[in-house]
């Protein structure tokens, strides 16, 4: 199942996405939470904390600017540009290129 959460900045998309992700996981789903925002804050709403969230943001910036290379495989991307959140949720930050990929 693939869900996308949309809306104006500041309406609560991230808070809502994070809470639903945790709930889906508690309901037994294996959840991948994808942060497509160019200012990724989903980590906070998932419960990984401000520091780790800030680190992921910096990593994404490095990816966008070319300082850090893209991963050739999906598994590699999930490993490198992600972090574990509570309830078994895996959080991954996406760059512009990932978002354009029809997968």
């Amino acid at each position: 199942m693939k869900i996308i959460v949309a809306g104006k900045g500041g309406v609560g998309k991230t808070t809502i996405s994070g809470t639903i992700a945790r709930s889906l996981a508690r309901s037994g789903h294996s959840v991948l939470a994808l942060d497509a925002d160019n200012n990724p804050m989903l980590g906070i709403s998932l419960g990984v904390g401000p520091e780790r969230t800030d680190e992921l943001g910096t990593l994404r910036q490095a990816l966008e600017s070319g300082e850090v290379a893209h991963q050739p495989s999906t598994a590699g991307a999930i490993e490198t540009f992600g972090t574990d959140a509570p309830d078994g949720v895996r959080l991954v930050v996406l760059s512009r290129i990932d978002r354009a990929d029809p997968g």
């Binding site: 199942m1 693939k2 949309a6 104006k8 609560g12 998309k13 709930s23 037994g28």
Partner: protein, 135 residues
């Protein structure tokens, strides 16, 4: 990437860019469900209407009415989105506290009204599809 993940039994939930940019780039088959989040304010409703227009035709769409204080707030959102079901998430101090502390709302108070509403929505979505294997 998304197709590969779904094959592995993963459920993906994507927090998109502010606005409609992510929706604009979606290819067919990339999404099953679009959740459009709206608050009872003019700017938010303008974007919500636009997002509803732009959502791909092969997806299910739900409108989440967030930070609703009263019937008037509910009505202004319902009017803006037309004849669609609204999932209502009330204004809730627990969410405010979570944002200030940098914590997940579900960890601050899973019984708070807004958090319960979101947990219920998660459970409803979970039931829509066969679940993936957990770890």
């Amino acid at each position: 990437m998304l197709g590969e993940l779904e094959g592995d039994g993963k459920t993906t939930i994507c927090d998109s860019e502010a606005g409609v940019a992510t929706l604009l780039r979606l290819q067919p088959g990339q999404t099953d469900i679009v959740l459009v989040v709206a608050q009872p304010g003019a700017k938010s409703l303008d974007v919500a209407r636009r997002a509803i227009e732009l959502a791909p035709e092969d997806t299910d769409l739900l409108v989440v009415a967030n930070r609703v204080r009263d019937q008037a707030d509910l009505e202004v959102i319902q009017t803006a989105v037309g004849n669609r079901e609204l999932v209502v998430v009330p204004e809730d101090d627990a969410i405010t506290r979570a944002e200030q502390e940098g914590l997940a709302p579900i960890d601050v108070d899973s019984d708070a009204p807004a958090v319960r509403a979101l947990i219920n929505l998660g459970e409803r979505l979970a039931a829509l599809s066969p679940r993936g294997e957990r770890g």
